[in-house]
Amino acid sequence: MTDLIVHIIVPVAIFSFIAAFTLFAVYAERKIAGFVQDRLGPMETGKYGLVQTIADILKLLQKEFITPAAADKVLFAMAPVVIFVAVFIGFSVIPWAPDFIPADTHTGLFFIMAVVSIDAIGILMAGWGSNNKYSLLGAIRAIAQMVSYEIPVGLSLIAAVMITQTLNLNDIAYLQGIQSPEPIYFMGFWEVSHIGGIFAWHIFQAPHLLIVYVIFFIASLAECNRAPFDIPEAESELIGGFHTEYGGIKFAFLFLAEYAMMFLVAILGVVIFLGGWNSPLPNVGGLLLADWTTGLGWGLFWTILKSFTVVGVQMWIRWTLPRFRADQLMTLCWKVLIPAAFVCMAISGLWRIMIIL
């Protein structure tokens, strides 16, 4: 019985977190956009426009369900659900704090990669089901982009997994801090198992993992259709891409999925490369900063703080860089990121052999 209640509470809690995060993130996004462009962003609804997104969601919830006459009704109605569920299930294997994980599976990373790929099918369903040329164009672009960028994401994750030797995200996070079961080396020469902090993170454990993280970050931006890789949505060319025909609560779900995906790739990058729940503060002599800032509460705090920072960087990039052209997008993926990821994977293999020797 207790198990059942826990199994209900956990998804509800994660959903509430995602919903709250989305509201907060949309507000933050609009404010950042404003400040970057020397504007103020939303200011009218509530103090500093704080309740603007709540007003927006209330408006969306009240809207009528409109299905275009020529749309494929089943696909059209199912697409937002498929898209959101694909992203939402990904959260089930993400650790938030030491051993604080909805499902502690040995194949967590593989599971995420498999489940998040379903997102692409959902987007194609949305685009095809709308029976609208702009939606279909957007969906086709999205598929081409997401399938291509799955490869650098996968390769960069493999490069990291070759170092960690586990697919369990909980264990991967353990390997980057003072609680690590194995000795950790900063750049391969300085043992930091008891110092921890920022030096124990995967991006600093081997020099090439920093490049791997950059590859992962760029490819994950494309995975979640964020600018500068937002050609599937491309408001200025395709009206809204695959979600042109959506309105009301269905649109709200697509939006929720987009922001959930942003947060998912941010937290995945944090868990695998940026130390997960581990504190960035190292033990310095008698100051046991890492020991003091490790625990359930601290773990949650660090995970969320790091993820929000990564999301902030995603927004910062969105409001700086212009959109890629479709051919540039593919060039970047196939000619730059994939070869670089392959080289990093090879280095990872050699690195592992050196460590064993």
Binding site: V36, D38, R39, W316, T320, L321
Partner: protein, 188 residues
């Protein structure tokens, strides 16, 4: 080739990112609202530009190209402004007076009553030609620009202060004068 363009791309991306982050942090303060005639008007390049209009207003000169205003006591009803108007938004009807009515503040003699002096602000294109031709400078442009209304007819401003009764009386006076003149002409 690919390597070179990639490195170039990353460098320019970093350059752009640094530029935007500088603006992001500069947004902590708003730009001061300066008068357009201020020396440093174009010097401010950092900070939020938004003016939150109804609560904040930009300073503007007292006589700017905004809504028209007529000082009807100074008007000699010469109709020049209506003739100068490119969009014909000024509608003037005058009634002749048998004798001089009075003097404007600059000393011109008034011989006509302004029965109607309407300016349709919805038609006005704010060119300011009417203010240039006015011999007594009674028609001016003010610093008022915020005049939104629910009805289009509210934008027709009537500047004539004469009541219908007064108009009627002045008309009768003039017809009487005409008739008297006519009679005098016949008599002589």
């Amino acid at each position: 080739m690919v390597l070179k363009t990639t490195i170039q791309g990353f460098l320019t991306a970093v350059k752009g990112l640094l530029l935007t982050v500088r603006h992001l942090f500069a947004a902590r303060k708003a730009r001061e609202t300066l008068d357009i005639r201020d020396q440093d008007y174009f010097q401010q390049q950092q900070g939020v530009t938004t003016v939150q209009y109804p609560r904040q207003q930009m300073p503007i000169p007292e006589v700017a190209r905004y809504q028209l205003e007529v000082e009807i006591d100074d008007c000699i009803v010469c109709d020049l402004c209506a003739k100068a108007c490119p969009v014909d938004c000024i509608d003037i009807q005058s009634i002749k007076s048998p004798n001089a009515i009075g003097k404007t503040s600059d000393g011109s003699v008034k011989r006509l009553y302004p029965a109607k002096f309407d300016i349709d602000m919805a038609k006005c294109m704010y060119c300011g030609l009417c203010t240039v031709v006015c011999p007594t400078e009674c028609i001016t442009m003010t610093n008022q620009y915020d005049r939104s209304t629910q009805q289009l007819t509210d934008l027709i401003y009537g500047f004539s202060e004469m009541t219908d009764k007064e108009v009627q009386q002045r008309k009768e006076e003039w017809t009487k004068f005409q008739a008297e003149k006519e009679a005098a002409k016949k008599g002589s």
